[in-house]
């Protein structure tokens, strides 16, 4: 091409000739956009492993009964396991206060407007929260069935609660979070007697359609707590050898890529 008068410039390439004062270079990348979060999550997980802590990320929609389940769990297990809780909410430290009333250390993260916890928030919390002597750490995520699923916090296991007042097709409506779960806990099952629109078998079918053999168990955490299957699952996970070798990772989809 003539650089003096641009004599090979046609109507087809005129735009290119005018606009590209430089050369275009393409850089192939293939990097996860959440790589920074994931790096911090790996660091958090290593920290948990170093202290022999089993870290569980507890998720659900607001009001499904996460804190109530933790209260019942602590009452049942506190004499045998040392438990701690990191709470996540937009505002208030009401949930951390409820946990502390059970005699267990709890740290509250208030996110302001962030709709989920991320690895960096948990990392900062861990600086103020000594883990030595702790067996089991629950991270109670912000009540939300959408966003928490995408953010690895460094936990070993994902637990999602589904209350019987929410609808038995929730797994179909929120596939990302339910597929990322290691166990799905139905809560408030003592209300099934007065409800005519929740079928636990349908909820299980809806979960099974997400392509996993994720277990689903039933709990009632209030009044006369009935949480035996949950405690059994917890104790099995606590007993699993974790101290050496690669750490247990939760079922977040990217870790399971074929």
């Amino acid at each position: 091409m003539c650089t003096t008068c641009g004599c090979t410039v046609t109507s087809g390439n005129a735009k290119l000739a005018r606009e590209h004062a430089g050369a275009a270079t393409a850089v192939e990348v293939l990097q996860d956009l959440l790589a920074a979060n994931d790096r911090t999550a790996v660091h958090n997980r290593a920290h948990f492993d170093e202290h022999g802590v089993l870290a569980i990320n507890l998720m659900s929609s607001p009001g499904a009964g996460k804190t109530a389940l933790l209260e019942a769990t602590i009452a049942a297990l506190r004499d045998r396991y040392r438990i701690a809780v990191i709470e996540g909410d937009l505002e208030t430290d009401n949930d951390a206060a409820r946990i502390r009333a059970q005699g267990v250390p709890a740290l509250q993260i208030t996110t302001g407007t962030a709709c989920h916890l991320d690895a960096q928030l948990v990392h900062r919390a861990l600086h103020e929260f000594p883990l030595s002597g702790i067996d089991l750490l629950f991270i109670e995520n912000v009540g939300n069935l959408v966003c928490p699923a995408s953010f690895d916090l460094g936990q070993h296991l994902n637990v999602t609660l589904l209350s019987v007042t929410e609808g038995d097709d929730k797994p179909a409506k929120y596939p990302v979070i339910f597929r990322a779960s290691d166990i799905v806990v139905l809560s408030k099952v003592d209300l099934l007697d007065v409800l005519d629109d929740f079928d636990p078998a349908q909820a299980e079918a809806s979960l099974r359609a997400l392509g996993r053999d994720t277990p689903m168990i039933c709990t009632a955490a209030r009044r006369a707590p009935a949480i035996a299957p949950w405690l059994d699952w917890l104790e099995r996970e606590l007993a699993r050898p974790r101290a050496l070798g690669p750490s247990l990772r939760p079922r977040i989809a990217p870790a399971l890529r074929a």
């Binding site: 275009a24 850089v27 920074a36 959408v146 966003c147 990302v176 359609a209 997400l210």
Partner: protein
């Protein structure tokens, strides 16, 4: 929502690549956002339009590829394309599957304008 924080992460990665290549500006950014990534492409586009101002990507075009959800069956080993909330094998109906595609949230390619003197 967190499309903003994902956009921030995207621009940070793009900035690093651009400065590493001595580029004057970013012409195009290609990303993959799968239906199971938890991110909504339209919201990400809107966030990008707002957040790119003043950066090296101020005039960049954002191309979002949306791969289909593909699974591999642990029972019959077949690969099939499925909907995001029905991840069962289309061949044998098996419900133990692995996601092969559809959960991506990735930066694929950055097209840069490198000044002629440096090229």
């Amino acid at each position: 929502m967190h499309e903003l924080s994902v956009c921030q992460a995207l621009l940070a990665q793009v900035r690093e690549i651009a400065s590493g290549s001595g580029a004057a500006a970013v012409a195009r950014i290609v990303i993959e956002v799968g239906p199971l990534s938890g991110i909504e492409p339209a919201l990400l586009e809107r966030a990008f339009a707002a957040m790119r101002a003043g950066s090296c990507a101020a005039d960049a075009v954002l191309s979002i590829e949306t791969p289909d959800v593909r699974i591999r069956c642990m029972t019959c080993d077949a690969q099939s394309q499925t909907s995001p909330n029905r991840l069962v094998c289309a061949v044998c109906g098996g419900f133990r599957t692995r996601i092969v595609a559809g959960d991506e949230l990735r930066l694929r390619r950055v097209e840069l304008n490198v000044p002629l003197a440096a090229a």
